[in-house]
Symmetry: C2
Subunit: 357 residues, 2 copies
DNA sequence: CTGAAAGCGCTTACAG
DNA sequence: CTGAAAGCGCTTACAG
């Protein structure tokens, strides 16, 4: 019903006394390149458009081969979750800001697939098809689906590093490896040798990156046998026994893959009467780039969530402009260090230094 | 390029030895109603689809079919602002949840208008037209624009009561008036007579509603001359002098239009050495429906932001289903009271009661 | 039951 | 410079 009321390109063409081709060319700004259309005609077309309140039909435009100026945003978790300070917020801030700059609207895929979950393909149909391209994010991603999307040749950028067997998908990632290496080197310089890397059981790319940074730093100090110094466990395993056990075995610093685990150690250490950094040093391998979330003085680095979102959009637009362009499609954004108060020389060394004096 | 590689409905029709119409009917499950298609034919079609890995082109489907299953979301401020606990969040949570249930995707209008601001009409063209209908929200709305949208007959629902000269637009609002009346009646029942209503200078619909609730409550107690008891000022005007002045003039309770102002009073009262509710009672006329935002024990009510968002989508869908349906388009959602510790009998009354004993 | 055909609203060669 | 026309891939009356 509404559709019939809505003016079409034909109406505009008729009103302006030209053909639809001219209207199309004028609208899309192709009136300067190969095809010349008189300024007066262009003015008439724009006037008719304004007068009729004409807006192109996106479906038709896309079907005919044009662009939609719409970028899809697909997340494997709700986009607007109930929790405050949610994980997605900073990514989306970056995406939105950049979309406004680059003149795109964002289509949020909120529809559930028939099975009630969140999937890109519904009954084998790529839901993102209505957009020029999409930004994907989420920690619960379906890799088979991503692989298919890649093979289908649909333009998309993942926020976060993801390596698929299907091939090198485009992504923007945080420079976990370098930041981790930097942080661990600091510990090494302070004299620590037995630094324990405490990860979570799930080993995704960002965990791999941090572990790689850890290994590089340790290797630079000649410590290569790390089998004993890299462990993976759940947060609730991090109790007093855990702490005491490792300290007794000579560990002087803990590198926690996740901030939540580091906060847990902070808590346990105060329960157990350990002073930080007197009894041991503590670093967390990353923290949300959100000033309102406190990291309680733990030495760590900021993950540039917002910039990852913004750069994902920039990268996607570059790909859309020229799908075959030979530009880097895997972008890593450096993390910035966030100095804290939880690192210092290992327990022994301070005494040693005192004796020297 | 990608497009040409993908099989179309024609390819499937050819492979299955039928027409595209049959393929379409089979795919869309219309093969059982009016039109009968033999089981064997259906099987052949599905087999061909599987074999070719066919998936329908959404743009073509939309163009031929009409609906887009896309609802626009337009806000007069950024949707993903930098601030945590932002104002829009709960509305959007409700909208997203409901969109998932009702099987709609959401198109966020992030594109800036040529003047750099946020407007529905760009160069006189309604940007929302690409959607089936839209949800609008924001405190900075452009009423002239809304009037035009209404006159254009575009289906939309505003989140928050808005009354335009142009006519009755659809909205979902919070029941400020009733909640305010309820809260003020409680104060009256406790013996307060001189209750000061402290509003902000901007009088929009929600301010009007609260003031109306205040007047109703006061009138029910026979207090009709309220000229002296309703004031409007900025938060920074609420200092110690303000408080002392009104208390000296016999005010025993303060009804603050906004929570921020109430929190300010709380602060000032402790600076000035006033005990609450011993020296005076304090209520705030509404608080975000967000459990993480503390209201410091102030008596108030919860504004159902999330439900307002959800119901806006429900209302919009009802309008889309039947644009001429005779359903109520102005929906008010009740607020729930949030009992606090800042109200009690007025200073005099307690003494008075004691004397009676 | 099934096929031929119109049409959704646009873009883009292709002629003038 | 401008117009007539094909075609994007689908859905849906409308004939058989």
């Amino acid at each position: 019903m509404r559709r019939s009321q809505r003016p079409t390109q034909q109406d505009i063409a008729r009103a302006a006394g030209v053909s639809t081709a001219v209207v199309s060319l004028v609208i899309n700004g192709r009136a300067d390149g190969k095809v010349k259309i008189s300024k007066r005609t262009q003015e008439r077309v724009w006037a008719a458009i304004r007068e009729h309140g004409y807006m192109p039909n996106l479906a038709a435009r896309q079907l005919a081969g044009g662009r939609t100026n719409i970028i899809g945003v697909f997340t494997y978790e709700p986009i607007f979750p109930m929790e405050p300070n949610n994980f997605y917020q900073p990514f989306l801030v970056g995406i939105e800001e950049q979309a406004a700059v680059l003149d795109y609207n964002l289509l949020l895929f909120t529809r559930l697939s028939p099975d009630g979950g969140r999937h890109i393909y519904h009954d084998g149909v790529n839901q993102l098809q209505t957009t020029d391209g999409a930004i994907l994010l989420g920690t619960n991603e379906d890799r088979a689906e991503l692989a298919r999307l890649y093979q289908d040749g649909f333009p998309f950028v993942f926020v976060g590093r993801r390596e698929l067997d299907a091939g090198p998908i485009a992504y923007t990632a945080a420079g976990y490896a370098d930041a981790t290496e930097h942080l661990i080197r600091k510990l090494l310089e302070q004299g620590h040798r037995r630094i324990l890397y405490v990860g979570q059981p799930l080993i995704n790319e960002s965990a791999q990156d941090r572990e790689a940074g850890f290994r590089r730093a340790m290797a630079s100090a000649g410590i290569d046998d790390l089998d004993e110094l890299i462990i993976r466990c759940q947060i609730h395993d991090l109790g007093g026994g855990f702490l005491r056990g490792w300290i007794e075995r000579g560990v002087t610093a803990f590198a926690m893959e996740h901030m939540a685990a580091a906060l847990r150690i902070l808590e346990v250490s105060s329960e157990e009467g350990y002073g930080i950094p007197e009894a041991f040093s503590l670093v967390a391998l990353g923290k949300a780039d959100d000033p309102t979330v406190d990291h309680r003085g733990i030495d760590t680095f900021f993950i540039p969530h917002r910039e990852m979102g913004a750069q994902a959009l920039v990268l996607l637009c570059r790909i859309l402009e020229d799908p075959d362009a030979d530009v880097p499609r895997q972008i890593t954004i450096p993390c910035t260090l966030a100095a804290g108060r939880t690192t210092g020389p290992p327990p022994g060394s301070r005494v040693a230094r005192k004796e020297v004096r």
